[in-house]
């Protein structure tokens, strides 16, 4: 479990990106970290890995402060950043020098992952395109079987078939003792994959809930016709019609989450979203 305790962080000493941020992240979930550009998604991920030093507060993983960058936490953490460098060696060599640092690393997993993306275990990493490098690095990251896997914009640079493979690939590696956190602004690429959503906006966490919990409280639907708006809490025009979010009654059939609408709802009415998801249902006629 990762505990973010009262984190305050700013890059320049004033104008904090986070102020007294608290967050608990449990094992066994694929978390989607969503937020606008500049909301602090990557910053939060870097804080969780101990790569940034908070002005105040601490982040605990494996019962240790991640900022200490201790081997016992580092060997259970892997980050796939948006930009990374791979050395000009073969994947086999890369594996030989890096795998010993990850106690649960599985070379069979790595070979299976590479095969899924049509990549060669003996191929030189320098000869790969940017997208292939990303896939190769993600294959290695998942084969490490670390308790915490963080991916920052993992679908950037992937072609459409690879994005489909990516979802299957991540889902197949999920276990009850792992935490996978995926930060992205391309919500369509990952919405079917997630079982937990974190939305950050303006120094604060607007949502930290499971998809089931969200869908038990909200209904999502798209209609070409205007509808009875008594229960509607959010609507926005989309190419397919008007996307609605309404409060769900127990008698209503559960709908499929529309992550894009939910995200927009969070940005426009964060307090209402918080109130709904914390069971203090607001008066939607406000």
């Amino acid at each position: 479990m990762i505990k973010v305790k009262n984190i305050t962080f700013s890059y320049n000493g004033f104008m904090p990106i986070f102020r007294n941020l608290n967050l608990d992240i449990q094992e066994g979930g694929i978390y989607g970290l969503l937020g606008q550009n500049g909301a602090g998604k990557s910053t939060l991920l870097h804080l969780m890995c101990g790569m940034l030093t908070p002005d105040d507060g601490e982040i605990i993983f494996n019962d240790k402060n991640v900022r200490l960058r201790l081997p016992s936490t580092l060997c259970d953490t892997f980050i796939v950043p948006e930009e990374f460098d791979l050395p000009a060696i073969t994947m086999a060599e890369y594996c030989k020098i890096n795998a010993p640092f990850y106690p649960k690393f599985s070379v069979d997993d790595l070979k299976a992952n590479l095969a899924m993306f049509d990549l060669d275990y003996e191929g030189n990493l320098a000869a790969l395109s940017m997208g292939q490098k990303k896939k190769a690095f993600m294959c290695f990251a998942l084969a490490c079987n670390t308790k915490l896997l963080i991916m920052d914009e993992p679908t950037n640079g992937l072609d459409i078939p690879s994005k489909v493979q990516f979802r299957r690939f991540i889902a197949s590696h999920m276990t009850d003792d792992r935490i996978i956190i995926i930060s992205t602004h391309q919500v369509h690429d990952i919405e079917l994959l997630l079982d937990h959503i974190i939305v950050i906006n303006g120094n604060d966490v607007v949502i930290n809930s499971t998809i089931n919990s969200i869908c038990s409280k909200l209904n999502f639907y798209t209609s070409l016709e205007p509808i009875d708006e008594t229960k509607v809490v959010f609507s926005s025009k989309t190419l397919g019609g008007i996307a609605y979010i309404s409060l769900r009654n127990d008698s209503d059939e559960e709908s499929e989450l529309n992550l894009e609408s939910l995200f927009q709802f969070c940005l426009t009415q964060p307090e209402m979203v918080k109130a709904i998801l914390s069971d203090n249902k607001p008066n939607n006629e406000q």
Binding site: G50, L52, T77, E93, P103
Partner: protein, 269 residues
């Protein structure tokens, strides 16, 4: 206890990190080492070309080139060691380099030690080996091509040929290595503070410090207090050299400690 999960310093994990660093960067490191040896070889070639001439009428000519090379190589070794030390935190200049360094499984001390071994100790070993081999080639070549010369190795010149007095020995075997170590430590510190263009910035800072220090010792200090260096006895002069050497070594150690803490505290900002 599992070596990887051990939060204390581990030599085994440090050697694993060293192996990882070497394998991932060997082509870059070999190229840097190759350029360094190539420059030294060119200097040797230039000195040999300009210092020896065929004069079969005279034998046992003095090997002046060996004396020149002692000073030229001392200067080159210092510059090369400074360049190498200024690369110690070079990969912290980029975000991806920082992430790669921070997320490596090891304690900060192990990661710093790996860099120290490659860029400080490795540079010294490479330099001495390169100079030794180049000098050996020079001796072989000159012995065959110019048999009228009494050829000497630069190590012979350093140890045997210069006048043998205590202050010379201290200067040669204590002050010079201390200054060399100090130079490396200074550029290491500079690299931990500013990882980009470190050598140029370090050179500029040392130049500025040099100018200020010279002004202080030559212009300002004599106005208030005159140190009668010329009246120092041999023992006093030796003591002064030893004191200077010790101070250089202590300062170098302090620089390395500060560089380590700077390295440890660096984050992604």
């Amino acid at each position: 206890m599992d070596i990887i999960r051990n939060d204390n310093f581990s030599f085994l994990r440090m050697f694993m990190l060293l192996k990882r660093e070497w394998t991932a960067n060997r082509s870059k490191l070999l190229m840097q080492g190759g350029i360094l040896v190539g420059i030294l070889a060119m200097i040797y070639f230039f000195v040999i070309q300009s210092s020896y001439e065929d004069d079969y009428g005279v034998s046992n000519l003095d090997d002046d080139a060996a004396y020149i090379l002692v000073f030229v190589m001392a200067f080159c070794a210092n510059v090369a060691a400074e360049i190498s030390a200024s690369l110690i935190c070079n990969n912290l200049a980029s975000k991806s380099g920082k992430i790669n360094s921070f997320m490596s499984v090891g304690t900060p001390l192990e990661k710093y030690a790996v860099r120290f071994i490659i860029y400080i100790l490795g540079a010294v070993i490479l330099l001495f080996l390169a100079i030794f081999i180049l000098d050996f080639i020079r001796i072989c070549y000159v012995s065959i091509a110019y048999p009228n010369y009494d050829v000497k190795s630069i190590y012979t010149v350093i140890c045997m040929e210069f006048p043998h007095d205590a202050s010379y020995s201290i200067a040669m075997f204590l002050l010079a290595p201390s200054a060399f170590i100090f130079n490396q430590a200074f550029f290491t510190l500079m690299s931990s503070i500013t990882p980009t263009y470190t050598f140029i910035k370090g050179f500029a800072v040392s130049l500025a410090i040099g100018v200020v220090a010279n002004l202080f010792f030559i212009v300002v200090l004599p106005l208030f207090y005159w140190i009668p260096l010329t009246k120092l006895t041999d023992t006093g002069f030796c003591a002064l050299l030893i004191f200077a050497s010790v101070m250089l070594l202590i300062t170098a150690a302090v620089f390395h400690i500060i560089a380590y803490y700077k390295f440890k505290e660096t984050d992604l900002r």
